[in-house]
Symmetry: C2
């Protein structure tokens, strides 16, 4: 283990304009891919060494897939000879100094010619530190593994208590946030409850397992069409998921969740999928930051600074069609990344830039086996098996590596025909920060201990 | 998160003799499988909720396989209707009281009619706390994930330093222990160095990556035949692995490993595969414990206590053929578990017990692609591709679930033809206990932070 001062970025001197990309998500990845074949030196910084296909993260949390099925090492993606002057560094970016065109990282500073912020979002707890402390987020792979272990350990513990109140608090799962993550997670948990858990835990009565889906607005899947929301709500209710609309969670102390209306739910597992905010870095002009996101023009340029761009979820590009910016899904990020590559190339050639125009390929959500909803381009909404098949096809198509596709398809087919979930392994005692103090019980599983 | 006092074992009253099995490894698993179809109530305690196929653990550490490929949830294995009166509890066993036939667990005590210790082994540091603190063990799945992250992070850091001495200490991998684990790990690392890492890290010169294999005895693979050792040494040297025989590691402070002969190796990664000792539980009669293992007679009975048995690695069954006990591999454990099931059945029927006779199916080790050695029954030793093919076949055959076989075969075929390793993901900042104090650098990757 080394100290920061023992390391340096160690990037070769640039013979071509240097584009620094902060973040290897959908936006950064597609920008770098298109850019690396052009006359730039491309430097990518990320705190993770992989690109994750986050729409499938909930499957890792529900023991359907292992991390390697939804994530691909960035160095593997950019390992081919097509990417000669591409340089990845596994390091955190603290911020930038636009006046000197310098990017500050934990292990040193570097000059950039063009800087692209593609840092995406982080969980937003709206200032509620108690919920942040005790709830389980689902934003990154470690979160998903944490949650998987928590769910399985809860069932293990439920079979180790005679106290009905305690058992119930272990069998109550509360999902806060009725967006795609919350909906798809609820659906996957309901499938587990129906097909997997009863045989795994013969001593438990899973009719007592309650899955709550709590949403502050008046419908589930708010980003999708009203028709999709109605269909989805119907599917969720068919699967015995308890939906609470127009409901906010006021507090959660690790044992009891208290709703705004005063209702209380005893639960050991509260999953926070209620909101995100931009993962900002320092140095952005005050006037360009709005609700945690970075205001950009139609070329993804950050106003008030030179040669700084933002793409994807972190970028807030207001337009007539999208007065609040584009939906926080993969497609806008992918398309912005691809266009920005073209535009940076035009820029150095002094050609006119092309404004961004979002091409909506439609949106999809899966609720369970054969149950899905799809808003297709042209305001058409479909549901049922057909939507499910589209969902599966689209997700496979967008998975990065050939290998991942193979792994995911084989896993899905296997599960589709056997109802079996393969990876119900409690790998290590992931605990909430709030529980760190009373780790004694879980230390027994801690191989470090 | 619950406290111990909120939980209880909660096992239904036994209508048949109760057999308590401590440990779900090769011994415990095979015992429980054979026993559950007989007239017993079977209770299994383990600190993990899965059975691991440990001979392939090094593949998880070298990013060849994900944990679900080598581990199977115990509840899944025993989920079928063949196992009616089987009860698994994810809890640590502290010890037993043979006089009252009570087993003590972290969440309560329970009576047993027959108790079987199948706890296996744990890493043995021979009292060297400094090595324990700074080295990386490879005994369990979390260890393998720790090591994988450490290896990948070392290469990431090696590409982030201009200091040749620091870079070298990141590119030096020291494996202590020339047994199967050390040999197979060294081989896998050499394959990565040759086929994967140069494309992943174009900025690094992997001719500088040194893989040391340090063994205290005068040959590698001491448990295998002299001929196998010679073949293996030849293979390892062909793969540019630096072998140091008759060599002991005296100290390791996290930066420099000092050998008994005074030589020093700067390394950030020292892997400890040098020895194991029995994972003992309290309550065993003093006279029955020898070198951390439990002395048993030819029926696996622990002398000096009634109705207590020990099987597998933790058991020390001396015989003319095996004066030091059986080799610490899967087969003796499997065969002892299967025989003990028969014998416990005979016991309750007052039939004479059958003494254990080890059937040696031979032993195998893989060094690399097409390179393996096999000691076949009848003192025949073979090497090369044929041995490799046998190794592959045998390991597949002994993998537990159908699914695991599928996953492992597809992974292997994929890697065999592409040389690609799929799972090079740094999932989270695993650090050595000794590094906990200076976590600052790695905290940047800590999604909890």
């Amino acid at each position: 283990m080394l100290r920061e001062d023992q390391l340096s970025l160690n990037i070769p001197a640039a013979t071509k304009p240097r584009v620094v990309i902060v973040g290897g998500g959908f936006g950064g990845l597609n920008l770098a891919k298109k850019l690396s074949n052009k006359d730039f030196q491309v430097v990518m910084f990320d705190r993770q060494n992989y690109h994750g296909f986050w729409p499938l993260l909930y499957q890792v949390a529900t023991a359907g897939l292992e991390p390697d099925a939804i994530a691909e090492p960035l160095r593997k993606i950019f390992g081919s000879d097509d990417y000669q002057d591409f340089h990845f560094r596994l390091v955190k970016v603290k911020g930038i100094d636009p006046t000197t065109k310098t990017v500050h990282t934990l292990i040193g500073d570097m000059h950039y010619d063009y800087l692209v912020v593609a840092t995406g979002t982080k969980s937003n707890y709206f200032g509620n530190d108690q919920i942040k402390k005790y709830s389980f987020p689902l934003k990154q792979i470690p979160d998903a593994l944490n949650l998987r272990s928590q769910l399985l350990q809860s069932f293990e513990q439920a079979s180790m208590t005679k106290n009905p109140e305690i058992r119930q608090s272990l069998l109550n799962i509360v999902i806060v946030g009725g967006g795609p993550t919350g909906v798809e997670l609820a659906g996957a948990l309901a499938e587990m409850r129906q097909h997997v858990l009863p045989t795994d835990y013969p001593g438990l009565d899973f009719s007592q397992m309650n899955i709550y889906l709590v949403e502050g607005l008046d419908r589930v899947l708010p980003p999708m069409s009203a028709e999709a929301s109605v269909k989805t709500k119907k599917y969720l209710e068919e699967m015995d998921i308890i939906i609470k609309l127009n409901t906010l969670v006021e507090s959660y102390d690790g044992n009891v969740a208290t709703l705004k209306n005063g209702d209380q739910i005893r639960t050991q597992t509260l999953i926070w999928a209620a909101g995100v905010s931009g993962a900002l870095i320092d140095g952005m002009p005050q006037e360009s930051v709005e609700r945690g996101r970075i205001l950009v023009n139609q070329y993804n340029q950050v106003q008030g600074v030179e040669d700084v761009y933002a793409i994807g979820d972190i970028a807030l590009m207001k337009s007539e069609e999208f007065p609040k910016g584009h939906p926080g899904v993969a497609q806008p990020a992918i398309q912005q990344g691809q266009l920005l590559a073209k535009n940076l190339d035009r820029l150095v050639r002094n050609e006119p830039l092309e404004p961004f125009k979002y091409f909506d390929k439609g949106s999809l959500a899966i609720i369970g086996r054969n149950r899905a909803v799809a808003d297709l381009p042209g305001n058409k909404t479909i549901g049922g098996f057909f939507a499910w098949a589209i969902w599966l096809f689209v997700h496979i198509a967008y998975l990065v590596g050939f290998r991942n596709k193979l792994v995911v398809v084989s896993n899905w087919l296997y599960r589709f025909f056997t109802y079996e979930r393969g990876t119900r392994l409690i790998i290590r005692p992931f605990v909430r920060k709030g529980d760190r103090v009373k780790r004694k019980f879980f230390d027994q599983y801690d191989t470090d201990a």
